[in-house]
Amino acid sequence: MTMTWILVLSLVTADSAGNVLLTRGMKQVGEVHTLEARHLLQIARRALVNPWLGLGVVCMACSFFLFLTLLSGRDLSFVLPATALAYVMSVLGAKYILKETVSASRWIGTLIICAGVALIAIK
């Protein structure tokens, strides 16, 4: 059980970091507005050399392997909602790393997610 939560927390950390890095990377790479091959190729070339995107993909890959490991021993209906702790992580990140002001409803949402994950953990 302890191992499960260590895996969940590692997954959530990698996932949150991955999302921040990917968003930052894609904003630099630019919009995908057509499905034209040449345009897509250009975007792909820019995406491949973007360091933020690269790091983001590494984080996402780590979280994916942790997800697989969790799925090998636990139910999907437990593992997936447990990963919602990533939202809690991003609120804490916004508050303590980015020093943003976090609105009351965001705190309430975060608490409700924590309560939900606690319920899932019961059985």
């Binding site: 990917l22 968003t23 894609m26 904003k27 790479v29 630019g30 919009e31 995908v32 507005h33 996402m60 994916f64 997800f67 697989l68 490991t69 799925l71 090998s72 021993g73 139910d75 999907l76 209906s77 437990f78 593992v79 997936l80 909602p81 919602a84 939202y87 609120v91 609105s103 409803s105 965001r106 309430i108 949402g109 975060t110 608490l111 409700i112 997610i113 924590c114 309560a115 939900g116 994950v117 606690a118 319920l119 899932i120 953990a121 019961i122 059985k123």
Partner: protein, 150 residues
């Protein structure tokens, strides 16, 4: 209007691909089983067994498609439109796990899943409000960012 329909279609596809992809992965990993002892040899053998499982490969393929669409959606739409759609995946996944995988989802677990979804909706809604306050132009739907700028 047409771009709005297109954007919502992409978002719906993002959700479906993710839910079904996860169901396949779960089915695959269940037959692969847990790793019993951690050493270089066992982890290597385990990795090979995982990568050779057809359900895992199928699920992985669907999630790659999900990921490509998700990236496109992120670059095209504000995160505040992408995230509420992803909230629905929790309930849909619990439902699919029960229906397709035959997992017994207890009332407590349903309540927990619902709470997680409500929490996510609350968080993303408050973020959406914040971003429309900062930028009131184009707050009616999933508007493309280039339109916001003009």
């Amino acid at each position: 209007m047409r771009t709005e329909i297109k954007n919502y279609t992409v978002l719906a596809l993002v959700v479906v691909l993710q839910v079904i992809g996860n169901v396949f992965l779960s089915r695959g990993m269940r037959s692969v089983g847990s790793i019993d002892r951690i050493s270089l040899a066992t982890v290597y053998a385990y990795g090979l067994r995982t990568a050779g499982n057809p359900w895992v490969l199928l699920g992985f393929g669907l999630l790659v498609a999900f990921f490509a669409l998700y990236l496109a959606a992120l670059s095209r739409l504000d995160l505040s439109y992408v995230l509420p759609m992803t909230a629905s995946t929790y309930v849909l996944t619990a439902f699919s796990a029960w229906l397709i995988l035959g997992e017994s989802v207890s009332p407590t677990r349903w309540a927990g899943t619902l709470a997680v979804t409500i929490g996510i909706v609350l968080i993303t809604d408050s973020e959406l409000r914040k971003s429309t306050q900062l930028n009131p132009v184009g707050s009616g739907g999933p508007v493309e960012k280039c339109e916001d700028a003009t």
